[in-house]
């Protein structure tokens, strides 16, 4: 097994309970009312901030992370030691300029980087929740973020921005709290998870459930981890984040450290060894049960269904300024998904801009150096800031 890319001295499992970032704790008097019908209490939410909140408290930006992301959007990750996952977009002088705006990024409910989730300790039993944790929805995540903003004394957001599952949260924010969102930028996302996407997620979950080390979700109690299953889930998902042209350009059919095939099931091809590496490093920083819960949250997301089947109704009367963005080679959330959102916003007479970025990098383009995305985001955010008087 390859050497894990870990910063020495930090145990990834400990991040679930005592993360390397600020944490807002809510007691029995402030439960999180979850869609599953459970009042979660006590609970906590871990977050990071950058920049300074101005006197009028009008420059707050909420960055919503994707499925396997976390609160470390623009700072060094405590486990991997790598830079922030969106430091191309967030930071001093970047489109989400931390010299001008107060940026908040919180770990979502159900995840494993310090916000309460299946890897957290259940106060009723003294051991990890595991599958006793209630099913999480995107709306639960947003409700939790809203409670964090209340705690921080932030009434409304100048900007709510995120990609993929983060984009779902942005849409949910705009639908649940329209008066609290001045501008919204959902990127590479959809108003619902497609059948194909649910299918891919199910394959990943089944890989985890089939790992003998999963132990019915009680692996933390017995001191094992379903690393093989979670690694396979990540390998499968990772393919959906890329595109055929990008895979071909990066790997083609090239062999890894050899001149001829070995006639075995070794990782002969570069793409194989790349995927194995992705699987292994992911296991080091992510909890398998959290992966089950968060993929399920995306599967359940259907904003139109929550509004009588008409997506436009989710945005009725909104005054939020929207900028929707998609990428030409994204087959996980193709441009048609973004267009459906744009059409609904048009039907609701909302101010909406839409950009389709030409890219061959697939779904992951939103995390990569994509100049057209950066410049469009810069233009939209700067104009919104002028409008807000920032």
């Amino acid at each position: 097994m390859a050497t894990p890319l870990l910063k020495p001295g930090i145990d990834p499992a400990s991040q679930a309970v005592e993360p390397t970032s600020p944490v807002a704790r809510f007691g029995a008097d402030a439960p999180l009312a979850m869609d599953a019908g459970v009042d979660l209490a006590p609970w906590q939410i871990a977050y990071q901030t950058a920049g300074t909140l101005n006197e009028a408290r009008s420059n707050a930006v909420l960055v919503c992370h994707a499925l396997t992301g976390d609160q470390h959007v623009a700072n060094t990750h405590p486990v991997t030691g790598k830079g922030g996952w969106w430091d191309r977009l967030v930071g001093p002088g970047k489109p989400v300029d931390t010299d001008r705006y107060f940026v908040i990024c919180a770990n979502v409910v159900g995840s494993c980087m310090g916000t309460t989730g299946p890897a957290s300790l259940d106060p009723a039993t003294g051991r990890a929740y595991g599958l006793d944790f209630p099913l999480v929805t995107i709306r639960d995540m947003v409700r939790g973020q809203a409670m964090l903003l209340d705690r921080l004394g932030i009434e409304d957001l100048f900007l709510c921005i995120g990609g993929s599952m983060g984009g779902m949260q942005v849409l949910q924010w705009a639908a649940s709290y329209p008066e609290r969102v001045f501008s919204a930028m959902p990127i590479a996302t959809g108003a619902r998870h497609s059948a194909q996407n649910i299918a891919f997620h199910e394959v990943g979950r089944q890989a985890i459930l089939a790992d003998p080390n999963w132990h019915g979700g009680r692996y933390l109690d017995v001191g094992t981890r379903p690393a093989k299953g979670l690694g396979v889930a990540r390998m499968g998902a990772h393919i959906t984040y890329l595109s055929e042209p990008a895979l071909h350009r990066k790997f083609g059919r090239r062999l890894q450290d050899r001149d001829a095939p070995t006639f075995s099931f070794d990782a002969d091809f570069q793409i194989e060894s790349y995927l194995r590496h992705q699987g292994i490093t992911f296991v080091e920083r992510f909890d398998a049960n959290a992966y089950l819960y968060l993929t399920r949250a995306m599967d359940y997301f259907d904003l139109a269904a929550d509004h009588g089947g008409v997506l436009a109704n989710a945005f009725r009367g909104t005054r939020t300024r929207f900028c929707i963005m998609s990428f030409t080679s994204d087959w996980l959330f193709p441009t048609a998904d973004s267009r459906a959102i744009v059409h609904a916003l048009n039907a609701a007479a909302a101010p909406v801009a839409f950009v389709e970025v030409e890219s061959d990098k697939g779904h992951d383009a939103f995390l990569l150096d994509e100049p057209a995305m950066i410049s469009a985001a810069k233009g939209f955010i700067a104009a919104a800031a002028r409008e807000r008087g920032l």
């Binding site: 801009a353 970025v357 469009a376 409008e387």
Partner: protein, 218 residues
């Protein structure tokens, strides 16, 4: 049709003082202050910005090119990257007070359907287009036997985005076909100024380089 009788009052710009394009100023005068406007094929958004700044218009745009969309974003204009031929179907009825199609109808694949959408989506439609009936266009074809290239039709035949040319008279015919009432109309002369006299239609059709029409569904 009676080609010599004016069908509608002509359009004249009332404040043609700024540095903006004359055809934009002509359109500016057709739009009620504070109204909702959709500009289809809005380019860099200069008309939308003019309408917002001078008329307090709540404007939206559709533009095919990413460069155009980015310029609009930087001006704070809500503009959607998209195609008039396919995207207008998604807009609900009566969503806008005015839908503008400026120098774009000749580049659409289905001009009749696009015009019908404009009249459905907006209470009014404003359409401008290069007049293929202009005398220079006619003479290029008649005397030289070549596809015309003029100020309003600057591209050679193999590189033009325009696929459905029409004359002012053709457009009036299309308006009748789709049940559009021409509320006001104008032809711009070679320098881009509205022709100032109540000239008969055949003169407009011959000497106008472009037509500007304010339409309303019947």
């Amino acid at each position: 049709m009676n080609a010599s009788a004016p069908l509608a009052p002509a359009i004249l710009p009332q404040d043609a003082t700024g540095s903006s394009r004359i055809d934009h100023l002509v359109m500016l005068n057709l739009v009620e202050p504070g109204s909702r406007v959709l500009d289809v094929g809005c380019g860099d958004g200069s008309l939308l910005a003019l309408l917002r700044d001078r008329r307090g218009v709540d404007g939206r745009g559709i533009e095919l090119s990413r460069e155009g969309v980015n310029a609009c974003l930087a001006h704070g204009l809500p503009v959607i990257q998209g195609d008039a031929d396919t995207d207008l179907a998604a807009y609900p009825d009566d969503a806008f007070d005015y839908v503008i199609l400026s120098q774009t109808i000749q580049a659409t694949r289905q001009p009749k359907e696009v015009l019908e959408h404009l009249l459905r989506i907006g209470r009014h439609a404003i359409v401008s287009f290069p007049n293929f009936g202009h005398w220079r266009v006619r003479s290029e074809l008649l005397l030289r036997g070549r596809m015309p290239m003029t100020d309003t039709l600057p591209d050679p035949w193999y590189a033009t985005p325009n696929i459905h040319h029409c004359t002012i008279r053709d457009f009036v015919g299309l308006c009748r076909l789709v049940g559009a009432r021409i509320e006001r109309a104008s032809a711009l002369d070679a320098s881009g100024h509205p022709m100032r006299f109540a000239l008969p239609w055949w003169v407009w059709n011959l000497v106008g380089t472009q037509g500007v029409f304010l339409l309303r569904r019947r």
